[in-house]
């Protein structure tokens, strides 16, 4: 752990929103409890995942070094932070950036964190998040506090939760959007963050927004839920709404989203999504994680039945003023330009002209443009982040957004500032042209850091980027406009299904060796919000993939009809002919003559698939009751600490609260919406668990339940050292009994579903 851990806690006191500060204190306590063996590793894994702290390759303590498997002897020995995940093994921290929106101060903090906790790189993901790699779990509370102090939370960045709400980075400034989706997307992100109805999913849940149907920027069709802005005329009035879609997703089995509602009014956006979350939590698969995404539930039920269930759920939702209040608040947060607009420059050197052509997109607002900062493989250094913060302050009101193509855009740049902006970006190595075209290859982390990676997606992407960059001047314009996306495995974090040329990692045997390969996919559509998914053609050795790209693009450039798209061209050519033209590249040379085929891009070790671990994408399926019981344990621990510090009154209150939390954990298995007040919890507990004798111990009978009732009666009396100590003993007994009761219920074949 960094020596400054406690210093940051002290320095940032009062600078973090109280709720968030409390959450982080709790997470820190959970870390301590796990170290003491007081939290189960599975529960802790899901706890840290819901804070964005993810596992990384080799965290099972094994790594093939090219010659043999090394057992990594970590200092904390056998202590784990999840099943087969060693405590000291470096991990990844995902940082949620709703709609990719950032300001300069946040960039500066990300820079400091990348330097101090990571390996000197911040990485932009394909879902507008940031990721830092090689982070020690002990450092995460301090890191999270530093983020929280500038308004960033990592809550629910991973795990079975609502992930980052993404949106088109041009929303609000795009020339052909229906309207700006940003306020609605931000409102939904705030509404769903930590929402009680989103805590019991069997899998992750990803929302996205787009201002139009025809472009790719929001990729709504590949998401669990999504909204595409629509404007409709009703009685002579223009009405805003969303084409609301559900059940999309990539992964091993990709699904296109289906239209749930042709025109969902903005005031229904939040409650409808809440109703979907409740139906998903109640009926979604929990045991088989491979079929636990919303898309499978919709497939199993049928869209109509799903719609019916959601609408029924919507009807019974208790009214929440935030459904409209959050949107109204966000509508008041409108971006403004810093400087006066102007004309687009016409002259300048060639490199500037190239950058203008590929990286500048005129805004709907006359005189302004969006400038894309191209990040190779989504990577940016701390020095570059700080420079970008300065640039954002100099040219804009810090209106930055990350993109799903792993870049950053600066919005509201005055056209007259473009030459100066280019010079400033170029000076810090951020002036590369080619944003969003064939050079700008998108890749997931793959075997570099991901436990599931099969092939080196970043290694391949880097190689393609280098080679295509060298050929830039010779490439046909139609080829330059193509998109390449690479995933390290079939799970599609690199979004390979929605690229002109998609690749995902596989392996093949050649004699006694295993050879890294990539499956080649064609037919994917980036436009229309990821409107069509590519299909695999053939698996090719990794080292031949650059030749595949050269061949596919070369033939397209040479033989395409006028205006014919890449997809249409290869559809016309047919799979058989396409495969035939790649046939010779399938062959694997023998090991002695071409040993380089037996290692992957950017990795000098001989290739193996032995390093593949168990992924954490799906998180651990932990019920809401288990989380509540863990919360009770943590509160009990806090009560003990307070007692040690002679704060007996607080200790007694906290011990009582831990009993109420444990009781609530049980009540929630039957009545999800139980209010948090002690009186109500205890009333429901008595009715459902005590009077029915479900909570009764085989030997002690109702004794432990009575402890809660007596503690409740005495809760208004002041505690002294003796009574607080006594209550601490009883609280532990009560929590243990709650665990036993829950375990008994969980062992029964079909637990009743909770009420809404």
């Amino acid at each position: 752990m960094k020596s400054s851990h406690d210093l940051w806690k002290a320095q940032l006191e009062g600078k973090i929103a109280p709720d968030l500060a409390r959450e982080l204190d709790i997470f820190e306590t959970e870390i301590q409890l796990r170290k003491q063996g007081k939290i189960d590793e599975k529960l802790f894994a899901e706890t840290r995942l819901r804070r964005g702290a993810y596992g990384q390759r080799y965290d099972n303590g094994q790594r093939h070094d090219g010659a043999k498997v090394q057992q990594l002897k970590f200092p904390s020995g056998e202590l784990t932070k999840g099943p087969t995940t060693f405590w000291d093994a470096p991990g990844m921290q995902r940082i949620k950036i709703p709609i990719g929106g950032l300001n300069a101060e946040q960039l500066e903090v990300l820079a400091d964190l990348a330097e101090e906790y990571s390996d000197g790189i911040a990485h932009v993901t394909t879902r507008q998040d940031f990721q830092l790699h090689f982070i020690h779990i002990d450092d995460t509370p301090a890191l999270m506090r530093r983020l929280a102090a500038v308004g960033i939370t990592t809550r629910e960045a991973c795990g079975n939760s609502v992930r980052n709400v993404t949106a088109c980075p041009y929303a609000g400034v795009c020339a052909d959007e229906a309207f700006d989706v940003s306020p609605y997307a931000r409102a939904l992100a705030k509404f769903l963050l930590g929402h009680p109805d989103c805590q019991d999913f069997g899998r992750k849940f990803k929302p996205a927004f787009s201002g139009c149907k025809q472009h790719a920027c929001g990729l709504v069709n590949i998401h669990d839920v999504g909204g595409i802005a629509r404007v409709r005329e009703e009685n002579g009035q223009l009405r805003l709404g969303f084409e609301y879609v559900v059940g999309g997703g990539l992964g091993a089995v990709p699904f296109q989203a289906k239209i749930f509602d042709e025109f969902l009014p903005p005031e229904e956006l939040l409650p409808t999504t809440q109703a979907i979350a409740r139906v998903f939590a109640r009926l979604g698969e929990k045991k088989n994680r491979n079929r636990a995404r919303l898309k499978f539930l919709i497939k199993d039920l049928g869209l109509e039945k799903f719609q019916e269930l959601v609408r029924e759920e919507r009807k019974i939702l208790p009214h929440d003023p935030r459904w409209t209040g959050l949107i109204e608040a966000e509508l008041n947060q409108q971006e403004k330009p810093l400087r006066e607009g102007g004309e687009l420059p016409s002259g300048g050197p060639d490199d500037f002209q190239r950058w203008l052509k590929t990286n500048i997109r005129p805004q709907r607002q006359k005189g302004y443009s969006v400038a894309t900062v191209t990040l190779p493989l989504g990577d940016i250094t701390p020095d570059q982040l700080r420079a970008l913060a300065d640039i954002a302050r100099r040219f804009t009101h810090e209106t930055l957004r990350t993109t799903v193509e792993q870049n950053i855009v600066l919005r509201w740049v005055s056209n007259r500032d473009l030459p100066d902006l280019y010079a400033a970006l170029k000076a810090v190595g951020l002036g590369a042209s080619g944003a969003g075209n064939i050079f700008d290859v998108v890749a997931c982390p793959g075997t570099d850091t991901c436990k599931l990676g099969i092939s080196a997606s970043r290694g391949l992407a880097g190689e393609l980027r280098k080679r295509l960059g060298e050929q830039a001047a010779r490439l046909d314009q139609a080829v330059q406009n193509l998109h390449i996306k690479v995933s390290g495995c079939f799970n599609s974090c690199g979004q390979h299904h929605v690229a002109d040329m998609g690749f995902y990692g596989v392996s093949r045997k050649a004699g006694n060796y295993t050879v890294p390969h990539f499956q080649v996919l064609l037919g994917g559509q980036w436009e229309n919000n990821g409107g069509a998914y590519g299909l695999p053609i053939v698996a090719i050795p990794s080292k031949n993939i650059p030749a595949v790209v050269e061949r596919l693009t070369g033939r397209f450039a040479k033989e395409r009809g006028k205006g014919e798209s890449f997809q249409d061209f290869y559809k016309r050519l047919g799979k058989v002919e396409t495969k035939t033209m790649l046939e010779d590249l399938i062959k694997i040379p023998d090991h002695d003559s071409r040993p380089e085929y037996y290692s992957d891009w950017g990795d000098t070790r001989e290739y193996t698939i032995g390093d593949i671990g168990t992924g954490e994408c799906a998180g651990e399926v932990v019920s809401i009751a288990e989380f509540e019981l863990a919360a009770a344990e943590r509160e009990y621990f806090e009560a003990q600490v307070l007692y040690e510090k002679d704060q007996v009154q607080k200790s007694g209150e906290t011990a009582f609260r831990s009993m109420v939390t444990a009781a609530r954990a049980l009540v929630k298995t039957e009545f999800l919406d139980v209010p948090a007040e002690a009186d109500r919890v205890i009333e429901e507990f008595r009715k459902r668990f005590y009077d029915t004798q479900k909570f009764w111990d085989p030997f002690a009978g109702g004794k432990f339940g009575q402890m809660l009732f007596i503690a409740h009666q005495k809760a208004k009396e002041p505690y002294n050292a003796e009574s607080a100590h006594h209550l601490l003993e009883e609280a532990q007994l009560f929590i243990d009994a709650a665990h036993s009761c829950y375990n008994k219920m969980a062992a029964q074949p079909a637990a009743p579903k909770a009420e809404g």
Partner: protein, 190 residues
Amino acid sequence: MDLQHINVKLFAERPEAVDREKFTLIFQGWIQDQVCDELLLDVADYLHVDAGPGIVLIGEEADFSMDETKHRLGLRYNRKRGLALDNAGKLAQALRAALQACLRLEADPRLGGKLTFNRRELELFVNDRAVAPNTEATWTACRGDLEKFFGKIFAGNTFKLERQPNPRERFGVTVKTEQDFDPQAILQAL
């Protein structure tokens, strides 16, 4: 002042002569043989970013990298885990690790003798803004320890300490000597 998380960087003499891609192979070999005191885990390649961390050998207690920050290629030792030593002990530990890595690289035949490190300059910084904020107060508090430490290890070789002035950056000091220092002699002195 407790100087934890000390980083040391020594600079390559002729960076243009060095084949940077070789460092991946070399560092993978260091992992195979676990040649350092630290547990070595993985290699990360960031040559595609401008003036970035270069090729990083990730370790449990510390990272080693052929770092390109500010376009200055050099071996950087980054101590990540805290040490229960006094400041002189922590400085000695970091300098020893960095010098040993430099000598190992200079001797690696795969680099063909093209990598040598400057023996009149090194950079030292504390990779933790809370432990050592980049302020005059920090400089005042630790200057004595630094002068004493380098006075001892350079033994008669006149040296100069310059504080890194940019407040946004980590607290750091550039150490320049009047004559070449001898890494072997320093290692013995440490």
